[in-house]
Amino acid sequence: MAGVASAQSAAAQTLSPQTLWPPPLWLVVAGVIVVALMAYALLAGADFGGGVWDLLASGPRRSAQRELIAHAIGPIWEANHVWLIIVVVLLFSCFPAAFARLAVVLHIPFTLLLIGIVLRGSAFTFRTYDSAHSAVQERWGLLFSIASLFTPILLGVTVGGIVSETVGRAPIGVPGATFVAQYVAPWLTPFAFAVGALALALFAFLAAVYLTVEAGHNRELQEDFRRRALAAAAAVFVTAAVALGAAELTAPRVRDALMFTAWAIPFQLATGVAAVTAIAALLARAYRVARVAAAAQVLLILSGWAICQYPYIVPPTLTLAGAAAPHETLELILIALAVGALLLFPSLGYLFRVFKGQGAAPVTH
């Protein structure tokens, strides 16, 4: 347990304010990881949400809804997916002990997550390029949309397991510990699945809000997604309440962090304002405002998670400082990130300008 003790003393050090400025390199990398996760949630999350709405497409404009979704995510989903790769690579390069721990304890949900990612991506592409016969299209569409449904749940489950400390406390290699205790119980918790449901609801909400904008001047299609966005907003509210309730019962540390810390109240207020703004904007049909507010809501929830975990990367055993790679690695990776960003952001800007800029949205009069 020497590792834990030294990790905790490192944690104590990191909490003292004078060591936070200038920020230690591991904190900067951790910040980049959080930003990459935010980008993944806002972009790829919405692509998964699009799959959910493909599954739930209904009414007289059923196939128009599906066309709009495919049109919206087609050119960009591959690039959006890369944010996850960036997170994984940064995790194993810069916090190798945390990566190893998560990979061991969360082997099963990660494997299921991967199957979801594989089926979602390949089924979407197969549908695009397979024959236009409706039976074939429906079959790939079903696979694509079901995979889009369960992948976000698994993402949320892993996050829930980490933040509620069950992953950090898993008795890996402890004599006498059963398989279930080591590899299943840490993530098969009510709280983890509540977070899974919340992730699904958030992604569906984001997607529906984005699609109101993507629908452009097609009022009927826009109304379809407006109704869906409002329903998803309700689902976000319900799943967030359930997650909070589950935290109250099973994850007291999360509850304490979310309710009783100094930053909790302003943070909860800000998230609430974003949520109310998004709903009000949807009601007022101010779709671009709704899009900004919905994105802000998701960013605030993710920041809440990050702050809730700080200074741990795998609470309660591994701190960011304790799990960090050697200084040389962090330094070089940060230089690579800076140079890469110079290449990446103009390219991403170009991609979104070509496909999401003025006049690029599918317009149906």
Binding site: A64, V89, L90, A103, H107, V118, G121, A132, L332, I333
Partner: protein, 477 residues
């Protein structure tokens, strides 16, 4: 099946699956860009058709390559957490750089696939070039990480922990140059010749088909020069293995005894318990010549090393012979095709060449799989050569046969689907009106493709076209 064997099998299966898509992801954009450039220069619509079909092929293969690559990035930890905990900080650098190359590839592939009418022709071609270059670069970065596993450097071991980590030195190890060179050339040789081979087969049935003639030509332009020079890069690799991984070389050659002027074993059945290789053709002095360019050089046999450090000899030796045999065959047929091209003759007019190209169509991919088998099986029992054993890297989780079986079934399904789609969308001879089957470009195929027209269109004009096309497809629904 032990958990270690299941983990190794899952990793081997995942890599063997992914490498095909990774290789095509490097080679295919090159073909597609050459075809598009020829269309822009000549206005020959067959080349546009080729560029569009190869773009479709690239899209399908890229998607499966991206998801199977994602699986691998997780599997490194899911199966080998202790390896990643140790190696992550040392080889994270090439993986991070690869992340950006992959990002660039994904972004510009999106522009290429969906942007035929949204960006100017030059920008479109440039997007294709960026896809081709970033694909090759990302392959190089991943192979750099593997090179480090063969010739680890850039750190010091103190009490089982890496100290003094220098990620840049870890990127520039002894194996970096020979491995990245050999793999990059292999990607172009395999992709170019498989395309040439498939269209050669189709030309045997339809000798006058202009579409397949052009496809054959572009395939040869990419594949034949690469296949021709590949034996030279193989020679560089062999000499590096002889010097830095003598056990691997001994296993590759099924060479049990150390000798001066060692012969080359071709074929044969290595018997690890007796320490002999039976039934091999021996080429006198061959191994000493190949490994050290000196017929009198001493080559170490497996007998010089402790028994527990031997890699599986038979697999390594057999895989090596397959790689070298197929590589040599490809080089010979590539040389033949290049002679035909140099004489300004149409390769499609020589039925014998068409037969030869058909016969070796899959050879590049088999050789690549065999080559990676040599690299990876030949490195056993180490995951990091001389530093960490594979058995010490594996996850403690039991029951690994379950994920192994699951991923095997999943990949069989994906492989079969991809093969069917490639046949339908890329290889079949074009028929009238077939473009309408392609939803990704359905909105564009109706409008005209003449290059001068597109070139004169302003960006306003193209975006108008695009929204017009989208309106049509949404209206149809």
């Amino acid at each position: 099946m032990s958990d270690l064997l299941a983990a190794r099998s899952q990793m081997a299966m995942s890599l063997a699956f992914h490498i095909i898509f990774a290789v095509v992801g490097i080679g295919m954009p090159a073909l597609m860009v050459i075809a598009e450039r020829r269309w822009l220069r000549t206005g020959d619509h067959h080349y546009l058709e080729l560029a569009k079909r190869w773009a479709r092929g690239t899209a399908i293969l890229f998607a499966v390559g991206a998801v199977s690559g994602t699986v691998l990035s997780f599997e490194l930890g899911l199966l080998w957490p202790r390896f990643m905990e140790f190696a992550g900080p040392i080889i994270g650098m090439p993986f991070s750089l690869e992340g950006f190359a992959f990002f660039t590839e994904a972004i510009f592939l999106g522009v290429y696939l969906y942007g035929w009418e949204r960006v100017r022709p030059r920008a479109h071609l440039a997007a294709g070039v960026i896809v081709a270059v970033s694909g090759a670069v990302s392959g190089v970065f991943v192979v750099i990480a593997n090179a480090w596993m063969n010739t680890p450097a850039g750190f010091r071991m103190v009490d089982g922990q890496p100290m003094d980590v220098h990620p840049l030195r870890a990127m520039m190890t002894t194996a970096t140059f020979p491995e990245t060179l050999h793999m990059t050339i292999a990607a172009y040789a395999a992709t170019g010749l498989v395309v040439a081979g498939i269209h050669a087969a189709l030309l045997l049935r339809e000798p006058r088909n202009a579409f397949h003639r052009r496809a054959l030509l572009v395939g040869l332009l990419v594949g034949a020069p690469a296949a021709l020079v590949q034996p030279l890069s193989g020679d560089i690799s062999a000499r590096y293995v002889a010097r830095w991984q003598p056990i691997k070389l001994a296993a590759m050659e099924a060479d049990f005894t150390t000798q001066r002027g060692a012969p080359l074993h071709v074929g044969g059945l290595p018997d690890e318990t007796r320490g002999v290789t039976r039934g091999a053709i021996e080429i006198p002095y061959g191994l000493s010549l190949l490994a050290f360019h000196d017929p009198r050089a001493v080559v170490q046999g497996l007998g010089d090393f402790p028994r527990d450090l031997w890699p599986p000899v038979a697999i390594t030796h057999f895989a090596f012979d397959v790689m070298v045999g197929l590589g040599s065959l490809m080089a010979i047929i590539a040389a033949w095709a290049l002679v035909v091209l140099a004489r300004k003759r149409e390769p499609a007019d020589s039925r014998r060449l068409l037969w030869a190209l058909t016969a070796i169509a899959p050879a590049g991919f088999i050789a690549i799989e065999a080559g990676w088998t040599v690299t990876e099986v030949g490195r056993q029992p180490w995951v990091v050569y001389g530093v960490m054993r594979t058995a010490d890297a594996v996850t403690p989780m039991p029951g690994l046969i379950v994920p192994f079986t699951t991923f095997t079934l999943l990949y069989c399904f994906l492989g079969a689907t991809v093969a069917w789609l490639l046949y339908q969308q890329v290889l079949k001879s074009p028929t009238a009106g077939e473009d309408e089957l392609d939803p990704a470009t359905a909105s564009q195929t109706r409008s005209h493709h003449a290059p001068h027209n597109a070139a004169h269109g302003t960006s306003h004009g193209t975006s108008h076209n695009a929204s017009h096309g989208a309106r049509r497809s949404a209206g149809d629904a």
